[in-house]
């Protein structure tokens, strides 16, 4: 077991010292549990120790309990860089910039939804475009798409697709500053302009979930997040910036291949191509990334707008009666300038989170005012058979992980192997037996996303709770799932 070579510095923290690999500037800290640490892959160790070699990295590189192999950074990788001599790397953010999770509450309960499950599933599937080649219901012209990428969800508010509570409860209020369309290629625009309001494919989904009373761990915090009745219906959305963000990442990998040579940067993996934060290339990518992040916030918001319309039609109720309100929207593929305490001094760092969620504790100005006494909601997506979890951020995370926590269950089995193990139809049947209806345009995709292909979400949630980098609030079971 590779972890036996590391120093166990806490009950659930393992440290890899800088002498593990030549060039490491800082240690690595793996945040895990005794149940999970044995499953950590050598590739993850190789990747996170490569991250520890990057210029300007501060304190240590972190790997979250759901860590698994990515490109450049592992999924679950977190690293913070000095703004004076640090770098920005698309490999620390991911191709799907601002892939994230939205969680919505409703006033509905299971009893009200059960008689209309089939209808609701079919109407949602017919309204929210998903799968390969899907196009959004909006025909955006170039001027408005520029506004989408620069203004984020403020554009939705002005055009009737969002309300003020949505804006209040989205990370960064749905707009990362600094987005300038001049830093985005025409290719990125033409890939993304018709895809706003679409789920995409792969592990992206729209899910209707239930908060069973037995699965609410902290009733006071849950109530403050809007979970206030037994068997309450919730809505979870997992998707990102679609082809727009993917193209920006692709474009800048090429730009940064030149930057690495130009600035004499040493990177141990081509997927860690980087540029100094303060260089022209670094600033340009930072701006383009903000554009993609803003488009992703808009993408999820437009899906929410479609979901609200379907609920109004199916339940014949007004928005007020349905109470479909945003609990929170988190980005889990992003880099952001955030204040951190380094050696007792407050310093602004560029925090990269790749498959990791911000988990700010109480008191932080970035946390919505209505949650500021308890900490930021942390939304964790699981497999379509197991549902998701809601946690809240902590001061421990602020101090130990640059305000970060896990993002999901973490895949353990390849898509190919999953498809060889079970047929999609069997997964669908098994889900139906468990009271979950699922709809997809590609049936074998259900096998790829089956529960056994992922880590047990409860184990990773228990791990971060024990580490106190997020605290358990509630767990939700799936009722309806639309798989992209």
């Amino acid at each position: 077991m590779i972890h036996e070579k590391f120093n166990r510095i806490g009950n659930n923290i393992w440290e890899i010292s800088p002498d593990f690999k030549p060039g490491m500037r800082v240690p690595v800290r793996i945040f895990s549990s005794t149940k999970l640490i044995g499953g950590i892959d050598n590739k993850v160790i190789d990747q996170i120790t490569n991250v520890a070699c990057l210029p300007g990295i501060k304190k240590y590189a972190c790997c979250m309990p759901d860590g698994h192999m990515g490109y450049g950074f592992p999924i679950g990788g977190v690293a913070a860089f000095s703004t004076s001599d640090g770098i920005i790397s698309p490999g620390g953010i991911g191709f799907d910039i601002n892939c994230g999770m939205r969680l919505m509450r409703t006033n509905l309960t299971l009893d009200e939804v059960k008689p209309k499950m089939e209808m609701l599933l079919n109407r949602l599937f017919g309204t929210i475009p998903s799968g390969v080649g899907s196009k959004g219901f909006l025909k955006l012209d170039r001027k408005n798409f520029n506004r989408v990428m620069e203004e984020g969800v403020n554009w939705c508010l002005r055009n009737g697709y969002a309300d003020r509570n949505d804006i209040e409860c989205i990370e960064d209020h749905g707009r990362l500053p600094g987005g300038d369309h001049a830093n985005v290629s025409e290719k990125a625009v033409s890939r993304g302009i018709n895809q706003m309001g679409t789920l995409g494919s792969g592990n992206h989904y729209l899910e209707i979930e239930i908060a069973r009373p037995s699965d609410v761990y902290d009733h006071d915090v849950a109530r403050q997040f809007g979970i206030d009745r037994d068997n309450q219906v919730l809505i979870a959305i997992h998707c990102g910036s679609r082809g727009f963000g993917h193209q920006i990442a692709t474009d800048y990998l090429k730009v940064f291949a030149q930057s690495v040579r130009k600035y004499g940067l040493e990177v141990r993996d081509r997927e860690l191509m980087s540029a100094p934060i303060e260089s022209d290339e670094g600033k340009s990518y930072s701006s383009a990334m903000a554009c993609a992040a803003n488009a992703a916030f808009v993408n999820r918001q437009l899906i929410v707008s479609g979901v609200r319309r379907v609920f109004r039609e199916v339940f014949q109720k007004s928005d007020d009666a349905l109470g479909i309100d945003t609990i929170y929207d988190v980005a889990h593929n992003i880099a952001k300038f955030e204040k951190n305490s380094i050696d007792g001094r407050e310093e602004t760092l560029l925090v990269h989170r790749k498959g990791a969620t911000r988990s700010f504790g109480p008191g932080k100005a970035e946390v919505p005012e209505k949650y500021r006494n308890i900490g930021q909601p942390v939304i964790v997506g699981g497999s379509m058979e197991t549902g998701s979890a809601l946690l809240c951020g902590t001061t421990t995370a602020d101090n130990e992980t640059f305000g970060s926590s896990l993002h999901g269950a973490g895949r353990t089995m390849s898509r190919m192997k999953a498809k060889k193990t079970i047929r999609g139809e069997m997964v669908k049947e098994r889900m139906k037996e468990n009271g979950i209806l699922v709809k997809t345009g590609y049936m074998p995709g259900l096998a790829e996303e089956a529960a056994f292909a992922y880590k047990n979400i409860d184990l990773v949630v228990e791990a971060v709770d024990a580490l106190d980098i997020s605290r358990k609030v509630a767990r939700f079971v799936p009722l309806l799932n639309i798989k992209g």
Binding site: H68, G243, T250
Partner: protein
Amino acid sequence: MPYRFSDEYSPADAGLIITGDSLEELFADAAIGMTEITADLVNIDESREMPVEIEADSLEQLFFDWLSEIVYLRDADGFLFKSCDLKIDIGKHAKLKGRLFGDSIDPGRHILKVDVKAVTLYRLKIEKINNHWRGEAVFDL
């Protein structure tokens, strides 16, 4: 088959290993292999044709740009690749010129699977072994 899929690279994504007698053959088979990740090939017609021209600093970069172009055309033009007629030069710069043949995405006719989000640089490789070409590519899904 001139290409095969591999899951040894990444559990979440798809890897492709391609062999060919010529660079043109290898590039074409890599593109068709990548398309097969996105859609069943059976009903993809060659009803559309478009020109393609790419220049890059190296052969490997040309390979990356070529596959990225096919991904781009799927999203931007709804184009599903089926075949191509290419000429590749590897002089001071690597150049590719030719025509693409394929179909417009039609959920009614095509069995659509999963989007390739991007071509990655992870293990991206192209090499000549005993007069044959061999390539590797891993795709983010």
